[in-house]
Amino acid sequence: MSLNLEYGFGGQPNFGQVLFYGAGAFTAGIVSSTLIRLYSGFPPADICDVNLLVQREAIVNSNGGIAVAIWVVALIVAIGVGAGAGLLASYPALRVKEEWYLGMVLLVAGEMFRIIARNTPQFFCGYNGLAGLLQPFASLDNVVSLKNYSPELAEGIYTAVILVLAFICYLIVQRMSNSPFGRVLKSVRDDRIAAETAGKDINKVRKQVLIIGSAMAGLAGALYSFYIGVAIADDYISAVTFSLFVMIVLGGIANNRGVFVGVAILTALDRGTLILGTLLQGVFPHFDPNLLSYLRYMLEAALLLVLLMFRPKGIFPEGRVKTKAYTLFDFGKGKKGEDETTSPPAEKQTEKKNEEPSKVIEQQASATTTKQQQQ
């Protein structure tokens, strides 16, 4: 969703999305690990020390409320760090004239982040990553009565929470894209020079969209790290960014509903090849299921090519920027606007048909003069 805002609407090809995603994951991990120990009265220790993992897990399992509170704080900090990273990334964005150079800069930055994280045991636990990030609702699994009822309750609740947060992000992006801000984003994407001459500060817009998108990516990274229980550098390779691009292009660039469909297709492909691999291994014991992970990438590429040939705008093509302005035009024409139930404004009902062109201009001009006099 964040990449769709940046690239689909804003035209900023953020090939380094994984940087912000990874930054969110590690930030959440570091904040959570440190806060858990602080709350328990222990001094902050080496968060990578494997001997402390068990201790951390014990604290989370025994104190659900605190685990949730720390998780919330970790998410907020991850969002902040993501936004900060987006702000930093916007500086090269302001200096490169072609957006694709920005894409290259961010691609390199994302890969640099991974390599640094992988080789910096002091901060990111190096090759092994930061382990022992328990889901905030893990303590529920210790309640015997609940466990008997549903053995994977904590995971289920956490998944539901992720879906709710994803939906909130969808609403935010949907509202932003269907507003004058959405129009400005599209104008910067479509023609930078024309946008500037129409009075739009394109540097400010680029900065805004990178901050918002990166904040969302930070949140996604944090949620992911808690979901899989570890923040590990090699999870944030450039291929992740490209998978996100494939999702957007498949579903439909600059179409928020399309993004959901793109995500669903690629996730189904991912899980489908995984399940297929396991099944094939059951039938053919010498079969290596990892081979199918390569098949997944091949299928992704093939799907993308077919779509670009026959439906280049994606499954759901880009739509218009739905604001109340259309109610003035759509009324009585059977067009579908955002607010189909909204009655047209009173002035429309009394609008004179076939008005003299000069009168129209005169009215407009008089209004302009009055406005300028007021100013």
């Binding site: 932003m176 500037e196 001459t197 129209v360 201009i361």
Partner: protein, 267 residues
Amino acid sequence: MSSKHQQQPQSSNNSSGENILEVSGLRKSFEGLHAIDGVDLKVKRGSITGLIGPNGSGKSTLFNVIGGTIRRDAGVIVFDGRKIDLLQPHKIFKLGLGRTFQTPRLFFGMTVLENALLVPKDQKGENPLNAMFHQRWDEEELGNAKKASELLEFLEIKQLYDKWSSDISGGQMKLLQLAAAFMGDPKMLMLDEPAAGVAPRLARDIFKSIETRRKRAGTTFLIIEHRLEILFDFVDYVYVMSRGKVIAEGKPDQVVKEQSVIDAYLG
């Protein structure tokens, strides 16, 4: 010829109050090619001024430099009493100087209506935080929509409001560009061939709308146009450019008689 020719800019002793735009000693070169070579030009507030000349004479480059999309090498540009030659295009627009392009530069990922609605200045909903709460900008949006509706209707493209701007004809693109330019309520508009590619009747209508706008809102126009038979019926004053220089200026009927102008056009 039109009877409006008596309104012409005064000579160089004009105060900046009378002249909304003053350009002096403007130069711009591209790898040794002098696209603009010491241009001096004054546009009187509330006038319609023509800028003509053969292809490649530097007219559009002059617009680009004044509008801020190309940085000048030397010279001074003063708009409405403010020096603008180092300002970014969006700041120049906010001061009240709008422009259109020779080849329409529209936003093809947006509809005709959205192209028009983009232009009004300082819209509340352009702030990302406000954007999330449509109640904060709905009223302003409806006001802009009403204005767009009237302009699109006048320019006879209202029926295209929900068409992608990439799907309309070249002439319609010109009209949309003009509507969008008017939406910004500029003090001055630089129009680069507004009637090119438009049917003769509509071309004249476009110029009539320009004249009406000038009369009622006091908007100043600087217009590049090759259809001189239409342009000369509406302009107060004309500058003629050739090879990056202003070679003649004056009333249209006087300018066309000048030998330098005839030479420039006939080679």
